[in-house]
Symmetry: C2
Subunit: 138 residues, 2 copies
DNA sequence: CATAAACTCTATAAAATTTATAGGGATTAT
DNA sequence: ATAATCCCTATAAATTTTATAGAGTTTATG
């Protein structure tokens, strides 16, 4: 399951996607719309900005806005950013690889081999769905 | 990512699958082979037995053994049993459904719609891979 | 029939992670 | 000048995961 952080990030991105005509959107507005803690959401939006998905404007009249095309924001990226690996095991993660302590040899491990396949097929799904698909369903 | 519980379960099932000629296998043997805590693994095997994948024999000379064909043990089942939902959000889980607090209307939620698709495609992958596939890779 | 070997079951403790809060700083419009 | 707003880092609270503990129960065997 996705963490609340990722779930909230998706809600925030969706909200921002739906309000692209506005110059900026307040954290507070998104938080209220979904009943999310302002401060918790603040941290999430900060991460999304640092990762290059959002722009922000400080000071009075400031707020956040989307700086990428919704089409260019695949689910895989958002999940990786906030939740970490998409792979089911560390030993098959492309972006967060770590060996599994209990496994003597990766090349001889049937679990590893199957999980590589699962990872590749899962990635295909998540790279192929973007914020645009979410917006299309609203 | 899978929990250690699920990962250990997969190792245990693999071990049992590789030793089907034996009448029984000791918890201790599996634990040692993979450097897993005996007691932790004990709880996991108990769950697998209660769920109908393993049989056990008590007392001296006892142990665990596989009672299902490896082909009949899909990854999806093992993951659900030990880790819970496969869906990325509670509001699209088939087996562990819960509404999302921050979402006013599921039928109007674009996130929900996309996640239903992701769930269905992910399930296809995980239902289609079984312990047999793991054993084939060993 | 005594003993040791093994699984059974439930409770609890420890560790790690996730979720949430807090508050002072910096910037900007008016 | 002031108020609004994002920026940043630290810490607290809650939850979940991981691990341990120990008293049962069953069974093979000498």
């Amino acid at each position: 399951m996705l963490s609340k952080k990722t779930k909230y990030a998706l809600h925030a991105l969706t909200y921002l996607g739906k309000h692209r005509e506005n110059k900026t959107v307040l954290i507070q507005d998104i938080a209220e719309e979904h009943g999310i803690s302002h401060k918790f959401l603040e941290n999430i939006l900060l991460e999304l900005r640092k990762a290059g998905y959002l722009g922000s404007k400080k000071g009075k009249g400031g707020g956040y806005y989307l700086i990428k095309e919704p089409k260019e924001i695949p689910l895989s990226r958002i999940i990786r950013l906030l939740d970490g690996p998409i792979a089911l095991l560390p030993c098959v993660s492309l972006n967060y690889y770590e060996p599994c302590a209990e496994c003597k040899s990766e090349v001889q491990c049937g679990i590893n081999k199957v999980m590589v396949q699962v990872r590749d097929e899962t990635l295909k799904i998540l790279e192929n769905k973007s914020l645009q698909d979410i917006l299309d369903g609203e």
